[in-house]
């Protein structure tokens, strides 16, 4: 018998604007010792379905419209809150997406770890602490004795996710629900966490539901894959069948969205637009401490019309390089020249004139767009500021930009929050293109997006790059994405360039151990190759 058997689960949200079917009669099951992956884009209902099993969907506005969820013979949907609470955290535990926000910043991790144990079982504080230490050790936290009384902010993202996993496993649950546990992490850390989850699952022989928007992520670990779209299951089956022989067009689209190809380097004449020589950007840490050498003695050229990929994990200095070129952070030493002019010495009006020729696209389009400005205002502002259009012609300019980035003209009076993540990134791209720049720094522009949307935005950037004749510095932690878009790739580690070459060179003949490690972190290589 299955550990969890969900039949015809239906969940809806009742709002002022009517009833919204979030989960529309889905059925799936989870076996002991197996990993079931639920795949779908944001809003497909995959998280809501799992939260509703544990009574974690706020009601109202949520409402369970029907179905059964048999867990060890009991229907979770029919249980009283007090009964369900005994199962939550004891028999069924959860890991969430963002370890930055999912741990209580006001409590030490030790206290948070011990809590489920102390609440569900009769154990002393000493016993709980001993158990917490064991688990921290098991999930790979170094020196747990001295870190157990630290607060979450003292850990890195990957380490926090390990703490979350330890917390979920402390009561030895039979079912673990992992909701996008690696989406907020770097590719290398993601690979480690995936390995950890798979290893713990195997050792304990428990059932796992792994929720993700990315088929590639679950390619190596899932036994069964369930693909959801708009609240319904479009296809499900074992891993090999889904990857080798997907039937539903949506699954095929998801598979196609995983970037696997290499861009062929351009053969044209080499004429550098940007020359970076011995760039150092250090951040002072106060008088008595060594400065953080975010970028240390980095030199490279970006040729006119070229897309240069910059790859590395968090803290490798890749974003700082982009910002240093645009003079958004003060450069410690070295030279950055743009079209023959040294940028590091420019001031005032000259710098402003130069900035018009260089633009930036950020990772989080929501944070970088002013929530109180409509799309029209956001796009018109740079056009007017840099006198590219005058008051009479600005409307036409805005509409042209909307067309270019593939947004319907009718959306022009809407505010950023009314758009999806992908659409917001289109607005941000449009705003960056408004000044007709020659050079764009794109800092993780697709990292916050679902895979299918990611593919669309990458296509858009490629197409616009050609149309506008853009030179681009494309910063990302994801080698697969960079390979798809970049002519040449620079691999960065701890502020220094460790390797560079074309996508094919790096993928087929990596020279450095670190590059090989990055390559091995790309999820789903085995099935996608």
């Amino acid at each position: 018998m299955a550990l969890l058997d969900v039949q015809n689960l239906a969940v809806s949200f009742v709002t002022r604007n009517g009833t919204n079917m979030a989960v529309d009669g889905i059925s799936f099951s989870v076996e002991l010792g197996k990993i079931t992956a639920i795949i779908g884009e944001s809003g497909s209902g995959k998280s809501v379905a799992c939260y509703s099993l544990l009574g974690l969907v706020p009601m109202p506005p949520g409402r369970i419209d029907g179905g059964r969820a048999l867990f060890e013979g009991r229907d979770l949907l029919q249980l009283e809150e007090s009964e369900l609470r005994k199962i939550r955290g004891r028999d069924i535990a959860m890991i969430f997406q963002d370890p930055m926000t999912c741990l209580n910043p006001y409590m030490t991790i030790g206290k948070q770890l011990m809590e489920p144990l102390l609440y569900h079982h009769r154990v002393t504080t000493e016993q709980a602490r001993a158990r917490a230490l064991e688990l921290l050790d098991e999930v790979g936290i170094r020196d747990p004795e001295s870190t157990i009384d630290n607060y979450p902010h003292q850990f890195s993202g990957g380490m926090r996710q390990r703490v979350m996993i330890a917390m979920a496993l402390i009561n030895e649950p039979k079912l673990l629900i992992a909701d996008e546990p690696t989406t907020a992490l770097d590719v290398t850390i993601q690979a480690q966490i995936l390995k950890l989850v798979a290893g713990l699952q195997l050792k304990r022989d428990i059932g796992v539901i792994f929720i993700s928007h990315d088929l590639a992520v679950v390619a190596d670990i899932a036994d069964t894959i369930v693909v959801m779209k708009q609240g319904a299951i479009v296809e499900s089956g074992n891993r090999e069948r889904i990857f080798r022989n997907a039937q539903h067009p949506y699954t095929q689209k998801l598979l196609a969205a995983i970037p696997t190809d290499s861009k062929q380097p351009r053969p044209d004449a080499v004429q550098p637009l940007i020359q970076v020589r011995n760039l150092c950007t250090w951040f002072d840490q106060g008088r008595h401490r060594e400065p953080v050498k975010a970028v240390n003695d980095v030199s490279f050229d970006i040729n006119r019309g070229e897309v240069l990929g910059l790859v590395g994990e968090s803290g490798s200095g890749k974003s700082t390089i982009g910002r240093s070129i645009l003079r958004l952070v003060p450069v410690t030493s070295g030279e950055v020249s743009f079209d023959g002019t040294d940028l590091t010495t420019l001031e005032g009006r000259e710098l402003k004139a130069m900035r018009r020729r260089m633009q930036m696209i950020f990772q989080d389009p929501f944070a970088s767009l002013n929530p109180r400005m409509t799309v029209y205002d956001a796009l018109a502002e740079p056009l007017l500021l840099h006198r590219i259009e005058n008051r009479k012609t600005v409307a036409r300019g805005v509409l042209k930009l909307m067309d270019d980035v593939g947004l319907a003209r009718a959306f022009v009076r809407k505010y950023p929050h009314e758009f999806s993540g992908g659409q917001r990134q289109r607005i941000a791209i449009g705003r960056a293109l408004a000044t007709r720049p020659e050079f764009i720094v794109a800092d993780e522009p697709v990292s916050a997006l679902d895979v299918t949307i990611q593919a669309q935005i990458l296509d858009l950037m490629q197409q616009l790059g050609r149309e506008y004749g853009l030179t681009m510095l494309f910063v990302s932690h994801d080698l697969a994405v960079v390979r798809h878009l970049a002519d040449r790739i620079l691999v960065l580690y701890k502020g220094e360039v460790v390797e560079q070459g074309s996508g094919d060179d790096l993928f087929q003949r990596p020279q450095q151990a670190y590059t090989r490690q990055l390559l091995q972190s790309i999820p789903g290589r085995s099935l996608l190759a």
Partner: protein, 310 residues
């Protein structure tokens, strides 16, 4: 940490200097003088009095001489209470005001904090609207209206509590404390509600629920600390406001506190007394703001770590 405190205290010096200067010249601009309402005195007596209190010196010299005294902790002699210094008068009145302020603060925290938490648990329901509407009324209602109303109902109509006095009859401290604390209870309720709502929408609250913790533990152990930080940061200004604003309540309930001295001093043009109490209260405001800032930072582990580094 010590550096932070030191810097803040240094910053306070110019602030207090400005307060002294502005007050000093403002009260002198006001018509009348400290001895105008005395029975007719001979010119010689008046001149002798003015000489005694250095009022015959040029204004600027009086100012520098006063600054010098204040720097040495001497707030000067009172003009209206012969033979007593302003320091003595403040020392006599302040304990009463401080006690009243403390009780009022307890009332404000108890009622306001609880109302804020209760409202935040079920936002946009009756459980939210009722305490928050009451808070709005509390903010709008001035203490000179609330005080007499409370006296009318609980002192006269129901005859449960004494109508005035301080420490004479049991229970006579209750109505003044409530009158003074009500407005602050209302502010705290609103701040507490906003803080709690913010925290309760955080991802880590969902984590706590997923652990199977009962709702009261989610609120008490996981939400309270973060949710109350805005309230704690408000305590400093609130406490200072309580002390400064207590003169209305002290007048209504005939309480021999600092506030009453202050009001009388203003009417009597008791220059040194006005200045002395103003300086004293502004020092208190600076100190309480500093204290609540330190406390609020201390409650946040991330800020605490930054603090102990420096």
């Amino acid at each position: 940490m010590w550096r932070f405190i030191g810097v803040r205290l240094l910053q306070a010096i110019p602030v207090i200097l400005v307060v002294i200067t502005v007050t000093f010249f403002l009260v002198r601009i006001a018509p009348g003088g400290p001895f105008d309402s005395e029975k007719a005195v001979t010119r010689e007596v008046k001149a002798a009095l003015e000489a005694q209190y250095k009022l015959n010196l040029p204004l600027f010299q009086q100012y520098t001489s006063y600054l010098n005294d204040v720097a040495h902790g001497n707030l000067g002699p009172s003009f209206k209470y012969p033979g007593r210094s302003v320091n003595e008068l403040i020392a006599a009145g302040f304990p009463v005001t401080a006690e009243l302020g403390l009780y009022a603060m307890l009332v404000a925290l108890g009622i306001g904090g609880l109302a804020g938490i209760i409202a935040a648990l079920k936002p946009n329901t009756a459980q939210d609207y009722i305490p928050m509407s009451a808070a709005m009324i509390g903010i709008c209602m001035p203490s000179f209206l609330l005080g007499p109303l409370l006296v009318l109902v609980f002192g006269i109509h129901l005859d449960w509590l004494p109508v005035s006095g301080w420490g004479d009859i049991p229970g006579d401290k209750i109505l003044p404390a409530i009158t003074l604390g009500a407005a602050y209870a209302a502010y705290i309720a609103r701040l507490g509600r906003a803080g709690m709502l913010e925290v309760l929408s955080q991802d880590y609250i969902r984590t706590a629920r997923a652990k199977g913790l009962p709702e009261w533990q989610v609120v008490v152990k996981h939400s309270l600390r973060g949710g109350m930080i805005p309230v704690v940061a408000f305590l400093g200004p609130a406490f200072a406001g309580l002390l400064a604003g207590s003169f209305v309540v002290e007048t209504i309930f005939q309480i021999p506190g600092l506030g009453r001295f202050f009001v009388q001093a203003a009417f009597n043009r008791d220059y040194t007394m006005i200045l002395g109490t103003t300086v004293f209260v502004s020092v208190l405001i600076v100190l309480f703001n500093l204290l609540s800032d330190i406390l609020a930072a201390w409650m946040n582990p991330r800020l605490r770590a930054q603090f102990s580094q420096h």
